[in-house]
Symmetry: C4
Subunit: 505 residues, 4 copies
Amino acid sequence: MSAEKVFSGKEVATHNSRKSCWIIVHGKVYDVTEFLDDHPGGSKIILKYAGKDATHEYEPIHPPDAITTNLPIEKHLGSVDLGTVEKVEVQITDAEKARQERMALIPPLEEILNLHDFEAIAKMVMPEKAWAYYSSAADDEITIRENHAAYHRIWFRPRVMRDVSTVDYSTTIFGQKTSMPVYITATALGKLGHKDGELNLTRAAAKHDVVQMIPTLASCGFDEIVDAAVPGQSQWLQLYVNTDRVVTKRIVQHAEERGIKALFITVDAPQLGRREKDMRQKYEAEGPAEQTRAGGDVDRSQGAARAISSFIDPGLSWKDVAWFKSITKMPLILKGVQCWEDALEAYDQGLAGVVLSNHGGRQLDFARSGIEVLVEVVAHLGEKRGLRFPNEKFLLFVDGGVRRATDVLKAVALGATAVGVGRPFLYAFSAYGTEGANRALQIFKDEFEMNMRLLGAPTLKDVVPTMVDASNVHTHIVAVPGDNLYNNNYETMPPARLRELKAKL
Amino acid sequence: MSAEKVFSGKEVATHNSRKSCWIIVHGKVYDVTEFLDDHPGGSKIILKYAGKDATHEYEPIHPPDAITTNLPIEKHLGSVDLGTVEKVEVQITDAEKARQERMALIPPLEEILNLHDFEAIAKMVMPEKAWAYYSSAADDEITIRENHAAYHRIWFRPRVMRDVSTVDYSTTIFGQKTSMPVYITATALGKLGHKDGELNLTRAAAKHDVVQMIPTLASCGFDEIVDAAVPGQSQWLQLYVNTDRVVTKRIVQHAEERGIKALFITVDAPQLGRREKDMRQKYEAEGPAEQTRAGGDVDRSQGAARAISSFIDPGLSWKDVAWFKSITKMPLILKGVQCWEDALEAYDQGLAGVVLSNHGGRQLDFARSGIEVLVEVVAHLGEKRGLRFPNEKFLLFVDGGVRRATDVLKAVALGATAVGVGRPFLYAFSAYGTEGANRALQIFKDEFEMNMRLLGAPTLKDVVPTMVDASNVHTHIVAVPGDNLYNNNYETMPPARLRELKAKL
Amino acid sequence: MSAEKVFSGKEVATHNSRKSCWIIVHGKVYDVTEFLDDHPGGSKIILKYAGKDATHEYEPIHPPDAITTNLPIEKHLGSVDLGTVEKVEVQITDAEKARQERMALIPPLEEILNLHDFEAIAKMVMPEKAWAYYSSAADDEITIRENHAAYHRIWFRPRVMRDVSTVDYSTTIFGQKTSMPVYITATALGKLGHKDGELNLTRAAAKHDVVQMIPTLASCGFDEIVDAAVPGQSQWLQLYVNTDRVVTKRIVQHAEERGIKALFITVDAPQLGRREKDMRQKYEAEGPAEQTRAGGDVDRSQGAARAISSFIDPGLSWKDVAWFKSITKMPLILKGVQCWEDALEAYDQGLAGVVLSNHGGRQLDFARSGIEVLVEVVAHLGEKRGLRFPNEKFLLFVDGGVRRATDVLKAVALGATAVGVGRPFLYAFSAYGTEGANRALQIFKDEFEMNMRLLGAPTLKDVVPTMVDASNVHTHIVAVPGDNLYNNNYETMPPARLRELKAKL
Amino acid sequence: MSAEKVFSGKEVATHNSRKSCWIIVHGKVYDVTEFLDDHPGGSKIILKYAGKDATHEYEPIHPPDAITTNLPIEKHLGSVDLGTVEKVEVQITDAEKARQERMALIPPLEEILNLHDFEAIAKMVMPEKAWAYYSSAADDEITIRENHAAYHRIWFRPRVMRDVSTVDYSTTIFGQKTSMPVYITATALGKLGHKDGELNLTRAAAKHDVVQMIPTLASCGFDEIVDAAVPGQSQWLQLYVNTDRVVTKRIVQHAEERGIKALFITVDAPQLGRREKDMRQKYEAEGPAEQTRAGGDVDRSQGAARAISSFIDPGLSWKDVAWFKSITKMPLILKGVQCWEDALEAYDQGLAGVVLSNHGGRQLDFARSGIEVLVEVVAHLGEKRGLRFPNEKFLLFVDGGVRRATDVLKAVALGATAVGVGRPFLYAFSAYGTEGANRALQIFKDEFEMNMRLLGAPTLKDVVPTMVDASNVHTHIVAVPGDNLYNNNYETMPPARLRELKAKL
């Protein structure tokens, strides 16, 4: 590798236009002129920083290696003498000021009674674009809500008169003990919500002895996250497979070397979903790019899709399984399986398990919830291969929509080994940092203790299929549209009222 | 044909009363005195133009030949010397002014993220009567909404680990390639929404290589629409069968000569439906006609029904099929079939296919959605005739309620060859003209690419029945009416709140 | 009968207290002292008229013979010289003045597009107590709404390509032609809504050739209603069976003599239901009676129940059928049958038919809708007695919740001979008198013509079971209660907006 | 027992800090220093009364023996000379003043038409913390509402033409007559709502001849409640089993001596549920305790759980049944059974019955309603042991969600002997004292008379399974999440309007 060139801020500053556009990120200089139209976030935002230091803007919304991965090596021009770079003045908008004022008003953590509460507070205090990115989902956002609602179609059949003096909700995954059947699943761009990003989760996972799944698209660097773990702490890696398998091989083998315990290959995202709420927020906040005003159907989303296709491989297929086995000894799990046929194939190909997931509702709208798919997978793999679940040889995980230990216990009763929880932890640390994530895990523990007592199950092995009634889990109904004229005419019976109120009417 | 008489504006102007009422349309003079009470829109609006040039008012809300078709030839009096006709001053109402101001505020097209968005904007910027006409449907508008809702009872079973590097959503209909399994279905009176009317659709269909079905009741003339097509562009014709079969024969054979590729005979409208929202808008905007104030139950709707019955034949029946075969070689498709029995009959009579449709919810309320009927048709024709769908010998189309490529893919998985989309294109061009229609089609393409990837289906042939769970499609449920006293008493758990908010409470 | 005593107004006026309470109604003097505590409406309202002429207050809310029926003959004191009676000044309250002003603003009849519209207007212009009495129903008013909602679980399977040039919706009931399969069912106290009371319905029934069922508790006298009929007009009688069968026999035989065509014996009201909305309106309008303030649980409703039990016989049973057959040749129909077992019994006992009805939801809450019971009755009587419906030997009627001809056609398809409609006609004449009732019937006719065309049924015989899908009619579901914390957190995707609106946000 | 020490108020007042904290309750002095952190209500509220008389605050929210049970005997320091104790000034807050003003405006009892009405009034006039405690339930409060909603999935099949001249709704439970199949079930802390607490219920139960189940956690003393009963009045005892069986034995045998007729052992509360609405009310009203501000996840709820675990035994199991039989001859019933398996076990172990209950929705959210469990229990015990219900050998009770006699009749039809009602009576006496509870019972009686007439059931034996359709009782459905963009676009048909209103639009 040749000696790196060092630029002055002044020189960089001259490349400040669409014709020649350089930017500085973390002290390095990049020529992004040819990349402008491929940038998923549009060219406008880059041009705003043309010739300047974009680190502050870049950092929370990109994985650390986003620019190096996407930009050809010849565009990595060198470094800059930061002392010579003019400071970009960070504007604090009125909206941001108001947000910071709200931040000062958050209630103390002990008033956070459940996971919903984190979201209620985070919604008030997160930057708008962080909220939009975390909370958005695909199309009409039917699936994201169904993920939660599906649990409401499953009811308990608790047992009584069982000694529940002591309750043990710990379990074992891939041969390792964990304090409860919940893991922190992979979610992207943690720094959008809090400056420490994914490290908040690493620390909380350590404290409460649960597993963290590290995302490919973390805001923090992979090694940074691994370094933050305490001795003996389990971490898994979520993997988007790169079209360039050399890159993927490097990532996987590095992860294995660093002690990662399992590899979760994402299979539900050959192309990243459009999340329109997120897009709308961007348009409304930033206005449209100049060039798109001109043409009629300039297709920025296509640009985004293409840009992302450059590193996620839509060609990933069953044929790749053998290759994965050849490059790593880590257990291989497919994340995003959505029907029994694919779960069966994964089993038959000797994989270690599957995550029944629809990517938090962010990919295909009207994909079914993981908990619903679980019921079908358990039934068919039982029938066709004689398997019983939970099963140490082939693990079933579920994620999406979980807010309560009762949700988790339903999944466990139906055969899941553990359940992944994502957004609630993002909301927890966005509002309260690491302590928020800790509190979220503690709430789970409290709820497990309570609810297993009430179920009559002293251990997770006692949480069995007959403890739930899931007979309606496959029911997807919509009420017949209302008869508005009739309903408008119907006058509800008034409730009993205090005399004063009557007088006023 | 004898030499046409030419009137002066002055002479025409003397026939300005209920006793003798002449009007001018496109430079021709018509005696509508005897037609006043049969006019579907009431006599009042005609009398407003008695003795005057009604072209401006007439044009957007009538097919070009409405007056010549409905008025006996002897009432076609001749032409007028337009220079002698007093200009009718077009009043711009306050409402219209406000509308035009809103029109200036529409967001740029790139901010239109989906088909719903066109409707949201069109609702704000369309003339009220255009909105009322396009958006209204039969009776309590249960079916129009069910058309959309039925898709919500169908869920996906996507496959993973399939190579979806390239996705091809093109298909073949009647032996002709088309870019996607979507066609622009026939809808009436396009000029209500935009001055170019149906031509907007012709141009967009050309650009995106999809088929346009030309409506009988287009605002633009049939030849004008055909002339606007580019070489090789496919167009179909939707046909209301005239009681006078000579007229129908002329239309059909003319269409065939002009290169129309298929004839869609509307069978769900022996009488045009009452759309009360549309009627209410008219009454409230214009007030009741004077004469109807007097009597108790003067029946204007009967008048409308009778007027329309004069050209749509309620006597159309299976016996007519042979005659249609005798006058044209175009594939014959019945549009508006609503149960498997009629689909089977159409197949047995050698027709080319059926459109499972309820006329966009505008005819019989509580008719089932096309997508629901599709499931039953595929099942019964499979069982009784051994057919598998999609099938080149007997094509199944579906329309009504479609807003997303996911809707289309559900229909394709269940056996449809293609899906008709109507209102969304009307809204698209009403707000944005041809570019709106283009954008709408591009949105479909983007969604197809994305969603087929997510389904694990590189081509439409890979979109198969097991990719959907339609087990609830026949479920028409209504929740038990609410217990209002109970619900009034129930107090929901308050969410976590910022301290400031609590102080205010 | 001895010569009647004639009192002076002055003498009557001295009996103006709880100790001795006389009132004047229609020129007759009654001693109601002992009846005060049994009065269903409470004693307070009577005491207000003690010693005075109560006719104005009495008339709209009592059947003409209510006082003579309920008061022992010895309390009928004689008549009064009306010239000597002090006029009771009728107070026009502010509420009443406002109501009369609203009455002046009702839209012309031609703007009434459907039966819902009458109710929307009537709600605005009826005296509050009339609205409360007509619109109220039992307990939580679940059944009244279910009556309408049940039709929403039944969907059409229309046929196409059938010659529907002419449509005939007339039918035959008890051997007599009627213009459509709808009859005006019995409802009490017509004068509450309009001064002409039930006569409005008699006139409209004559004009449109439908049957009117005369209620026992009509505001107009039975003979008055019969006298108002035109030659050949069919009328039926609804009967509450009196504990004193002599009275019942007299009523029945008088009806037969007057040409009544069928006797509908009400069997769902051994005790009249509590309609709490009606009760609340009374309490709130009038305040509680003085005496009830004192005690804790004085039970006025018991009083009402007891009072009404004095003329409706809760002991009516199957044993009485033979007696009815012995006193009349009219066809006997049970009104208010609610399960197949009782319909079968009625058939086996040789009755002419049953009305599947829950008394408009006014009796037992959670009684099922007539249309739902129809499905079960047709199935079981078919299976057990080989009957097919509609059936001339044993007629099935349905009432409750009907607002559209489509509702009626569903009932006909499922086996009903005709459908009773009640409240909509009350609302029609309350707002518009006889013309309102006429318009309501005309709307039915227009809808029948339209909808039978769209169903592909030229006559009612063509309206067959396969034309409906009633597979969900027995489904009584309630959604799982909502997760309020989750729903509060969920932020819906904002629709596309005009730029101005965005600026405001 | 040695002579009790007597302190002066002055001496007690010196122990007013976290280091040494004494309080006075009912004239006794307690050292609660070491108990501070274990207090379920937090330490802050105790510290407020450190060194002072806490009786006023203590009384309504604790069972009389709460302090003596939870505090070791050596901390019972002695008594105090009350004359020397400084009076604690009771602050009347603005909220309390407003509440008392509302209390003066409650409508007279005769305007209370149903049980819902009590709740509507109580909500307005109860102290906020009483409302929060009574009305709250577990987690997202799904089960509490489902308890009521489940009755809405059960519909009646009433019979007609049966002699219902006399209606008898009395029944026999454990060999004793009772006026109706309803009992007042156990609910804690009656003095929160009304100063007379549970005695209100004892008096009303006497007047109306129904059974009262005395709660373990009553505000009034057990003997006080028993003493308030009239001769012959039946009372039952609800029992939380103490870890110290000596205590339990003493309670049970004392109850038997006092004439308690049956022992209901609570089995659904090995740990008392978290009721977040109640917790939120407390936090918001009182603010967080000082010490918890410091740490991140101090776990006050754990403290509460531990505190309560000190007297409720989570180790209670089937093995204890024999012991209970050995210490009492009272019929033993398990309260809180939630599946047929446990009901069967109870039967096989020779118990007298079970209450199918989920503790009013206060324990495990998503536990099914008692009425739903009843259906499954009757089916399985019928099938496996040949039992028919109601059954004198093994009684099935149900509680939760009941508001109407129709609810009770559904349970009776399905096999329940009687139904427990709790919260409605709390609301009744909270607003109206004993007279409120009387009125509530009278309303039940009126409704029973009416509804049994309308069902065609002169006695409870005539209320049979075929009188209900419970086929949907197991259906737990959730509608597919709404399509907000579509719904936002849909414009409902406007109702007919008065002209004036139109002008305004």
